[in-house]
């Protein structure tokens, strides 16, 4: 299985609680939050965890996305994703 980038779209109106709850579900399943928007969150997670996130009552759709390097703000999004990812990664030293 592979880690991929997904957008997790919310059901109905945006609320902080709903967004936080969905993000917790993604985190619990070993995923990472790359960006949060009002209609959904962009996450990186393993393929096998998609059904578990999809089953969340506040989620309407989970779909794979890719970053088009020729996009208008692709480089900036890439930086945002990398920055947010780095805050969630734990580096173990032994």
């Amino acid at each position: 299985m592979a880690m991929q980038m997904y957008i997790v779209a919310f059901n109905g109106e945006f609320t902080q609680e709903k967004s936080r709850d969905v993000q917790h579900r993604v985190k619990d399943r070993g995923g990472f939050i790359l960006m949060v928007a009002k209609t959904g969150v962009i996450v990186a997670m393993d393929d096998s965890q998609v059904p578990a996130v999809e089953q969340h009552p506040a989620v309407s759709l989970v779909g794979g996305v890719t970053l088009n390097p020729r996009g208008y703000a692709a480089d900036r999004l890439q930086r945002i994703f990398a920055e947010n990812l780095s805050k969630q990664l734990e580096i173990k030293t032994e």
Binding site: Q4, A37, G40, L61, G63, P69, R70, Y72
Partner: protein, 206 residues
């Protein structure tokens, strides 16, 4: 005797291929629909995009102060100056940008390399055993006037046949799903009108 050809002919290859192709077609449609829904989500998801941040450095010479706060001068009475710098920041006006415009594309998937594998094992064993037991006994007696004799014989024939025939089969179907770039017809076209120089407006499509 088992007829291997007949057994193989009984495998419904045509139906299996049709069922698999039909399932793939249905799955492909469902995947495409999901990806198209994703295009809508991405087109609706906006964020405030700050196009530029300008930082301007300008000289800001300052006179060094003594410990008591008074301006410091050297032995000739000249003020002791340092070259300071003043940084002013001008953040460009933000505007909403959709994730689709920004460069987040939905992933489309395509089925490739579909394989149907049928394995069949036909086992046939035949075992026959025949036993033949032949026995002859002769008895004879003789008297003064009579003589008698008897001959007895027996034949035991046993025949046993064992016949077994078994056919076992298994089939497996596999297909590969790969991500592909979004089809052009399913993605909106982006036009960039560059009007930075009103005398040379250019339009480009991406």
């Amino acid at each position: 005797m088992p007829n291997v050809g007949a057994e193989l002919a009984s495998v419904p290859f045509g139906k299996m291929i049709y069922d698999m192709a039909s399932a793939i077609a249905r799955s492909q449609i469902a995947l495409d629909k999901a990806s198209i829904s994703l295009v809508k989500v991405l087109a609706k998801t906006t964020f405030d995009y700050v196009p530029d941040v300008v930082e301007t450095l300008t000289p800001n010479p300052r006179q060094v102060k003594n410990a008591n706060g008074t301006p410091m001068v050297d032995g000739d009475g000249n003020p002791v100056m340092i070259t300071g710098v003043l940084v002013t920041t001008d953040v460009g006006k933000s505007f909403p940008l959709t994730l689709l415009q920004a460069g987040v594309n939905p992933t489309f998937y395509q089925f490739t390399n579909s394989t149907i594998e049928v394995k069949m094992a036909i086992t046939s064993t035949q075992e026959s055993q025949n036993t033949l037991d032949v026995g002859v006994s002769v008895t004879a007696s003789a008297d003064f006037l009579f003589a008698s004799g008897s001959v007895t014989s027996h034949v035991n024939f046993t025949s046993s046949n064992k016949y077994s025939y078994s056919v076992t089969g298994s089939s497996s179907m596999s297909t590969t799903l790969v991500p592909v770039p979004p089809p052009k017809n399913m993605m909106p076209r982006f036009f960039l009108v560059n009007a930075m120089d009103p005398k040379a407006i250019s339009i480009s499509q991406s």
